[in-house]
Every structure is written in structure tokens, then in C-alpha cells.
Point group: C2
Chain length 90, copies 2
Amino acid sequence: MLTIVLIGYVAGLLTTFSLVPEIYRTWRIKEARDLSYYWLASLGVGVVLWIAYGIFISSMPVIAANSASIILVMLQALLTVRYNKRKLKR
Amino acid sequence: MLTIVLIGYVAGLLTTFSLVPEIYRTWRIKEARDLSYYWLASLGVGVVLWIAYGIFISSMPVIAANSASIILVMLQALLTVRYNKRKLKR
């Protein structure tokens, strides 16, 4: 059972990590892409539902991975709003 | 219990869908980004581990969402290899 939970945590670490390059890219080029709002909304709601599902089935890896993901999604949202505003000001 | 499983499926649908814009973008501009290989490797291994974890805990939403994701990740990998090759030929 410990191995199974560990597999879940490693899985969560890797898939959550996959959000980092997009955030890094937005921060680096100081510009958010056109698709970002739909993408963020879909991902954000999905991640919140995963947390709810994880709580219901008592799966700590699902809860932990998606709690980390929601922080990254919010960070991406902040950067997107910030750089889209800057774009509009030009 | 049916509602819980349904929440899991909707969660999976939304987070899996979040992979589509990147694939669409690669296909549209016929160019894969520099980070793509690390990103794909991390995401691919993560998704496979989620499937393994889903089987162990008998969670159909986790298995289904990540099975759909692995197909999308493979599609992204194919496009990445294809357009990186084309880039090298120039």
C-alpha cells in the first residue's frame, strides 16, 4: 500500500510539474497567449473537481497533486491578467 | 457514489482537455517549442504512473482520464518529433 501511495505522489509531482514551463514562459516573455483564459478556466475547474473527488475517495496523492496544481493555476492566472492588462495599455 | 464518480469523470475531462491547446498550437504553427521534450517526458511518465495508481486504487475516473491523456501526450510527441526534424532539415 505504501508503494501504491508513493506511485501516486510521484505521478502527481510529474504531472503538476508539467504546468511550470507555461508559467515560466509567460513570466519570461511577459505575454500571455490568446487561449489562456479558456485554458485556465477549464484547468482550474478540473483541478478543483479533482480535489473534491480526492477528498471523497480519501486519496491523499490526488488531493496533494491537485492542491499544488491549483496554486500553479492561480499563479498562471495572475500572470495572464497582469500581462494582458499591460498589452491593452499600449 | 455515482455523483462522486461523475465528479471524477468531469474533472478528468477538463484537465485532459487542457492538453489540447498545446497540441493544436504545435500543429497550427508547425513548430514545437524548445521545452517540449522535458515537458513531454515528465508528463508522459506522470500520466503512466497515474494509470498504475488508478488501477491499484480501482478508480475508473483516474484510469480513464489518464488513458485519454496518454493518447494526447503521444500525439504531442509525434508532432514534436515531426516538426523538430523539419526544423533541422532547413
